[in-house]
């Protein structure tokens, strides 16, 4: 290393930007999370205590856990399945484009679309929602998709997220799948593997690191999930999630201390996933 201050000059813009927009806000948030609603009295861990014990928060944590498991599992596994199956289809490009299309819609837009799909009118009145129209036509009672707690409404919201993100998982996994040498799959077939065994013992291990990256990316997203819930139910009927709760505490109840504490909790929860992602990424770079 050369001595002198020259290199700091080159680093300054980046450090300044990171410091002002990332490091300072983080530290500030951590500090005010130990203060009261108006940030004028020190309350110790009271905000954290409330964050982990208040009823709405517990519901939000539970829902985030449901999102975490269902959303991640479905997007990644369906994305993988589509990547492998569509590789054998002649109209692959069109099919993939259609499945990827929801990514181009904002979550607010997606929320509005799916609100129409889920619309519920009491039994006996005309159903204007697509799903209930279908249910009615099949001769069943209409379902309050966004009202029935805790499973139907939460899963209905998660479905919207899955609809948006599966295409993303598929595209990344498909790119990796196309990188598999065809001879390796053929070698496995000649070795005596049926298609499932080829998938299980050759394809999946080969895609392991990509699957890990996609999974952690989905986990990071799902921990922060906000817009879909905000637009469709705003947390009503026990569909609250942590990020939405944070916004409410911040801008509705003006409780800066509690909102900051929730922000810190979310931040800490996301760190492990980010670390795994970065490690994977570095390992991949090292191979190159």
């Amino acid at each position: 290393m050369r001595r002198g201050w020259g290199h700091w000059l080159y680093l300054a813009p980046a450090l300044l930007a990171l410091g002002v927009f990332l490091v300072y806000p983080t530290i500030h948030t951590i500090i005010i999370s130990f203060f009261g609603p108006r940030s004028n009295e020190f309350v110790g861990l009271a905000n954290y205590q409330r964050a982990f014990t208040a009823k709405p928060m517990l519901i939000a944590f539970r829902n985030n856990a449901i999102w975490l498991v269902v959303f991640t599992a479905v997007t990644v596994s369906v994305g993988l399945l589509l990547a492998v199956l569509l590789d054998r289809v002649r109209y692959e490009a069109i099919a993939k484009s259609i499945i990827f299309l929801p990514m181009a819609i904002s979550f607010v837009g997606a929320g509005v679309i799916w609100k129409f799909v889920y619309t519920y009118r009491p039994a006996g009145t005309p159903q204007i929602g697509f799903l209930n129209g279908l249910v009615n036509a099949l001769g069943f009672q209409p379902v309050g998709w966004l009202i029935e707690r805790p499973w139907i409404n939460n899963l209905a919201l998660i479905t919207v997220g899955i609809w948006v993100w599966t295409g993303f998982c598929m595209v990344i996994l498909s790119a990796a799948y196309k990188g598999i040498p065809k001879e390796m799959l053929e070698a496995a077939r000649i070795d005596g593997a049926n298609e499932w065994q080829v998938f299980r013992y050759v394809t999946i291990p080969f895609l392991k690191s990509t699957i890990a990256v996609v999974t952690t990316t989905m986990i990071v997203f799902v921990l922060k999930v906000f817009d879909i819930v905000y637009v469709m139910t705003n947390g009503a009927y026990d569909t609250e999630v942590v990020a939405n709760r944070m916004i409410k505490e911040m801008f509705l109840f003006r409780n800066y201390g509690l909102a900051s504490a929730i922000a810190v909790i979310l931040f800490l929860a996301i760190i492990p996933a980010v670390v795994v992602n970065i490690r994977r990424f570095r390992a991949q770079e090292a191979v190159r």
Partner: protein, 368 residues
């Protein structure tokens, strides 16, 4: 162990005919090499035997069994690929054991076979390594091992040595030959390298444009090629092809061109009656051209001597290759290294006409 019969097999990709009605019979325990330039259909043929490509028309038998509609896993074959196609996430042991595990062999038997094969291939100390830790030669040994442990009816090789460097290729070539002597498994081996074809094949099938040109033992293909393509493809440096005319004088037949006039031996001449006065291709291998100065008893005015201008000389130590020109045509000669030649100087060469070939100019078919 089994024979492989390929019966009038055709493969089309859309309108393109990759393999055109090929007939090939590989005897039990035989080592057959499919050779030809890229795009000749040799790999496609092999892949059809493996079951990786569907057969458009015709029949393929392994043993007595028609396998057209049998998936690869049930054909009891093993294949070695050019790029090895090892499973990168498994170590060497598991790479070799994979096929046996899928076939539900008992653990002990798997272990015995894997260790035996590793011993045979000299990779016993690498069993715990991952493929990426191995050199190209070692990887190809693992790929061989993976084929051997299964003791399949047929080995299929798809240019297995092409990714190795020249020295290793020669070494592996010899090892493959040894291996075949020990195992005696029916083998079909695809290559574009005529040296591999000559050295490994008990019989060689030369292909071009989806058509089988000649199927015979290597020496016969070398000595008696059926057409100019086979003659030019097998042998290095390649056979010389010189446009010439067949001329008759006093019941003798000559091959003549602006650069030379060479007398054909009598027994060859009789078979050329119909071609007298016509244009033909005169073929002679580089080793059948000798420097006159090394043949003390030979008359410089003999009717098998031609003169050429030396353009390039390549001394290889044990032999001297010269590229020369005569009457506008280029020719290559493989000479004794003691011959003194200079670039730009003329050299007198004696053609061993009893080893020459005459091809039809239009069809390329061998006349004699």
């Amino acid at each position: 162990m089994a024979e492989v019969v390929i019966k009038e097999v055709t493969k089309k990709f859309g309108d393109f005919v990759a393999v055109n009605s090929i007939d090939l019979r590989v005897e039990d325990r035989e080592f057959v090499v499919l050779v030809g330039p890229s795009g000749c259909g040799k790999t496609t043929t092999l892949r059809m035997v493996a079951g990786l490509e569907e057969v458009t028309a015709g029949e393929i038998y392994i043993g007595d069994r028609l396998v057209n509609n049998v998936p690869p896993k049930d054909r009891d074959i093993a294949m070695v690929f050019q790029n090895y196609a090892l499973y990168p996430h498994m170590n060497v042991y598991n790479n070799m054991a994979f096929g046996l595990r899928l076939r539900k062999f008992p653990k002990k038997e798997i272990d015995r076979r894997v260790r035996e094969a590793a011993e045979l291939l000299g990779i016993s100390d690498k069993l715990k390594s991952k493929p990426k830790e191995l050199s190209g030669g070692q990887r190809q040994r693992v790929a061989l091992g993976r084929a051997i442990v299964r003791s399949p009816k047929v080995f299929l090789f798809d240019e297995p040595l092409s990714n190795l460097d020249a020295k290793l290729r020669v070494q592996m070539r010899a090892e493959l030959q040894k291996l075949h002597h020990e195992l005696r498994t029916t083998t079909i081996y695809v290559t574009h390298d005529q040296v591999e074809a000559m050295t490994l094949g008990e019989r060689v099938a030369v292909m071009k444009d989806g058509l089988l040109q000649q199927y015979d033992d290597p020496q016969r293909i070398y000595d008696h090629p059926v057409n100019a393509f086979v003659a030019g493809f097998i042998g290095s440096p390649a056979m010389n092809f010189l446009p010439a005319e067949l001329a008759a004088h006093d019941s003798k037949v000559y091959v003549s061109s602006p650069g030379f006039k060479l007398l054909l031996p009598q027994e060859r001449a009789t078979r050329l009656k119909g071609y007298l006065g016509r244009e033909v291709l005169f073929g002679i291998r580089p080793e059948n051209l000798k420097a006159l100065e090394m043949l003390p008893g030979c008359d410089p005015r003999a009717e098998t001597v031609l003169e050429a201008q030396v353009r390039v000389r390549e001394p290889l130590g044990d032999e001297l290759i010269i590229y020369a020109e005569t009457g506008g045509a280029e020719l290559v000669a493989r000479l004794d290294p003691r011959v003194r030649v200079e670039i730009g100087q003329p050299i007198k060469l004696v053609a061993e006409m009893e080893f020459s070939h005459i091809f039809d100019k239009e069809t390329g078919e061998t006349i004699v």
